[in-house]
Amino acid sequence: MSTHQLSTSAPTERWSSWQTLDSGRLLLFAASTMVVLGAVTVAAFKLHQPEIALAFGGYIAIGELLRLALPGGREAAPISMVGAMSYALLLRVHMHHALHHSDVVHLAWGQVIAVTAVGMAVGALPHVVAGRPAGLTGMCSRLLAVSAVAAVARPLFGSQLFVNTHYWWLAVLVMVLLLTLGWLLDTLISGLIRADDVGAKFSVAIADEMRLQAPLGAAVAASAIITVLAAEVMGLMELLVFLGPLLVIQVAFRRYAGIRATYLQTVRSLAGVTEVGGYVERGHSRRVSRLAVAVGREVGMPERELLDLEYAALMHDIGQLSLRDPIPGGATVLLSADDQQRVAELGAEVIKQAQVLDQVAELVRCQSMPYLGPGQQPPLGSRIIRAVNAFDDMVGGSTERERSNAALERLRLDTATEYDPGVVAALAEVAGRRLASRL
């Protein structure tokens, strides 16, 4: 696993001190180096074309103020990115005092970084004042991407070839390339940080990050190119006019992320009906879902499947609602195999009613099927739920190491006929880590 290669210390030590990330520190260091470089450049050569710098800096600040929460607890600042990237790629800006030709932009690499950094800091300030997280990691990774793009673009766009309006297509080509590289860099850094944060495999985290950031990345890149080219005739007014469409896109994304969060929250709450009804022990569904997701991550499931797994784990006992009387103690592990299967089928029926959660229903339906070795076996998610559910039925909310070890031992004994040995191994790893972090 590549995450383990990041730090060479013993696993327990690594997990007890996971807050002080190596990659996080590295990122902060790199970003602050950039800021210092930018500040030095501006101090040495003074600020060129201050009105343009002010306009773009303000744009970046607005964008940073209007950050966007994406699914999975991510944060993005698309408008800030459009502002910073288009500033890095600026060719000519039509100014009011020059009616017949657009002003060629003279811009040093360092100035782009300085303006971006100041804009971001100003935009982040209200978040800090309001008591929200400053989002330093996100800003650092954005700043690095912008610095990289500016480092190539600034020397290149100062050359005679690009000053000629005739070769706009060449400029567009270069911009597309640079923006793609910048996007890759940003995504790579976010993936790295995320892999460390939630304990996912690096390759899986990168793939997830790319899939999730692709639509927004494309919109940001295209918008940056539009901004650069339209500013050539419209001047700084363009920033204002283009803010409208960008806001609509942002609102659309916000609503999408919002409804997803509400959805999950609702399923989480409603999965609690089995607990209120006295069918299962309090907190069981949540504990199972949290542990199942951790195990799923450990075995390298991508985020999309993790979401299905989370829903399925939350609702895995919903079938018990159809039982006349609650099972004593709610522990399905004590039921006969036939009854377990019946509860699973009933639960799957309920979830199928929703029409959009067929994958989840399938996971719930297969949750009590035994593991019969490779070949014909239930889906991975079901195997995870089965093992985690049994574990929680035996351990409950307890944090005693002995109890946890005894339960794991019992699961291991049954790996030949009941539980997937790979899943049980991952469960042992996750459970061990949890106990260690509690000490």
Binding site: A219, E232, G235, L246, Y256, Y263, S269
Partner: protein, 463 residues
Amino acid sequence: MVSRAAWVYIGLVVAAAAALVVKSPPGHVGAHYWVELVVLQLLFLICDSAPAPLASRQASWSPSSSATLAAVVLLGPFGAALVGAVSVLSVRRKQRSADRSLAGALAERLFNGAMYALSGFAAGVTFVRLQHRYPASHPFGPPPPHYFPYLVAPFLAAAVVHVLANQGLIWVILRLNRGSSALLPRSGIESSVPMLLASDLCFASLGLVIAALWTVTNWFAAVIVLVPLFVARWAMAQFAEQQQAYQSTMSALCQAVETKDFYTRGHSERVSRGSGMIARQIGMRQARVEAIKFAGMLHDVGKLGVPTQVLQKTGPLTEDEFAAIQLHPMRGLDIVREIGFLQEALAGITHHHERIDGKGYPMGLAGHEIPIFARVIAVADAFDSMTSTRSYREARSIGEAVLELRKGAETQFDPLIVGAFLTALEREGWRLAAPQAKPADLGVITAQDHDDPTAPLRVVDSL
């Protein structure tokens, strides 16, 4: 069916637009600027053919107006009309067309084309009138690049006119055609009007950016703006999809709760609908209507906390058992508390069994102390209970149930809410619970219904 007045109106609009297209001076727009015209028409068609579904199922949204408004700048009023008119040709996937006649489909197409042509023309005229610096030698065709900074204000005025003309033309047809679903233009008026208008206006301003880009990159301008447009569309479609998923998951889970009891099947769904009817009738805004529908859906979820034996008991209840039933609204609150609801919805669930005379539960609130959500849900709840079959009686007719509601106004229900419900009922009707055949195994049935105002729970007098 489409009303006669609506037909006449459609005829007038289409005739006006046709006159416009025929009268447009072909020498200018068609011959000199045909590349601009064709590319913008294509852009319009692409945007219009793939509209994003909005949250309310009937309406959808497309950013095609940005193409028309780019034409306003690049080609003038007649060009804008010609771009808007191609809406006639747009290909949409799956029209909701089970009951749609060929004439209806054709009429919708013609009307849409005419509507966009007219509003494009209106915007164009506004634009030309308002900008003074425009050289007289350039009545049509792209303005010289250095004029763009001065075009912003006239353009914004034109965008406002375009949005208003568009929505106005649609509004009239909705007015004329009330109560029929045969002809529903795409942008629904009923849901989130300010949001829709604002986003229309914001995307309309993209038109000026397209025009500016055109002077630098020609047709490539239309290609590159498609990227953000499609991303926005994707996000909106995702939102609608998630919302749909959310609603159906909710109702599936509520059904799971109802499986405990054969006779109350579909009750939550109908109470949700009824509460929504009342909320709209008393003029709640859309977000609150949505919230009250959710609250209505979940109002009885706390029944799960009541032991099945108590719910199914045939004889009179003991005090303890009655207390357990009275606790169900609080149990419901426990379950849904953490959902990111409006606080009002939570209050609605907690207090849906309070009575106006203060004799309800769980808190014995009276009159206007009872939250409005709870007063609304109480009426819908009781009405559905009375019109459904119970093990101890057949379903009552709507007329009988209405009488009972009237009787209960002032004591059990808020008379204003009852009045609003009856008005809404008259207009929209009520989908009755399907008459239930007695289940073969009489395992899970309710012998008494705590929601039924005509058969109060019988409690053993404990002296």
